[in-house]
């Protein structure tokens, strides 16, 4: 059982470039999330989705976009990368039943130079 899979694991971007971070889950979870984790800090929510076709902003959405065309996939798009977006990005999903924990992917380590 693969769980939550994120690609790529590492990436270096130049300022102004764009890229898409991929996230897919095979647990048929409706809820999916994107977080970023800066060094020595907790995670902050960027975007979330409660099902295919439904997305909404989290705490720190500026500079990012998402889409959810299928239950399995929840890609995160960075437009015009900036140094402040250097971070580790985690995708998570959970079953929509009370008390279920979120399951996290292994993360994408992104550096903007």
């Amino acid at each position: 059982n693969a769980g939550v899979t994120q690609t790529p694991k590492f990436r270096i971007l130049k300022i102004g470039q764009s890229m898409t971070l991929q996230c897919t889950q095979d647990m048929n979870h409706n809820y999916m999330y994107w977080y970023r984790q800066d060094p020595g800090m907790g995670l902050k929510l960027i975007y979330y989705s409660v099902g295919a076709g439904i997305t909404d902003k989290g705490e720190v959405p500026n500079g990012y976009n998402v889409s959810r065309s299928t239950t399995e996939d929840f890609p995160l798009r960075l437009e015009l990368a900036a140094p402040s977006q250097t971070s580790v990005y985690f995708c998570a999903s959970r079953y929509d039943r009370v008390g279920q924990p979120q399951h996290f992917g292994d993360g994408t380590r992104l550096s903007i130079l």
Binding site: Y33, G40, L43, L45, P101
Partner: protein, 113 residues
């Protein structure tokens, strides 16, 4: 402002000793989660506490929840090196965010022989 505060932020313990990590949260949620993160790794769910007075134990770790005091504790018994990691106690934000997690900075635990 919704927030989670953990105390201490850094903890250096000797093997065999006991200690407690404290987690104060600001919402009126009746549930709380504990996660473990090894350096450079993803987050692993440890406990889901679903009601006031809930207590869960796994090996040398025991977590409890007091919703009236908005306090959760993670008690470590006879620490071993393998417990070295960062521990997070994200709170569940109902609000408009569909149950997203609010993270504090975490407690970085180092167990020394």
């Amino acid at each position: 402002e919704l927030k989670v505060e953990q105390n201490p932020l850094f903890l250096s313990m000797q093997e065999g000793k006991n200690y407690t990590i404290y987690c104060n949260y600001s919402t009126t949620s009746d549930r709380l989660y504990w996660y473990r993160q090894d350096p450079g790794k993803s987050l692993e769910s440890l406990f889901v506490l679903l009601s006031n007075g809930a207590v869960k134990q796994e090996g040398r770790l025991m977590a409890s929840l007091d919703t009236k005091a908005r306090l959760s504790t993670l008690h470590i018994t006879a620490a071993v090196h393998d417990l070295s990691a960062t521990y997070f106690c994200p709170d569940l934000n109902y609000g408009g965010s569909q149950g997203n997690l609010i993270f504090g900075k975490g407690t970085k635990l180092s167990v020394k022989p």
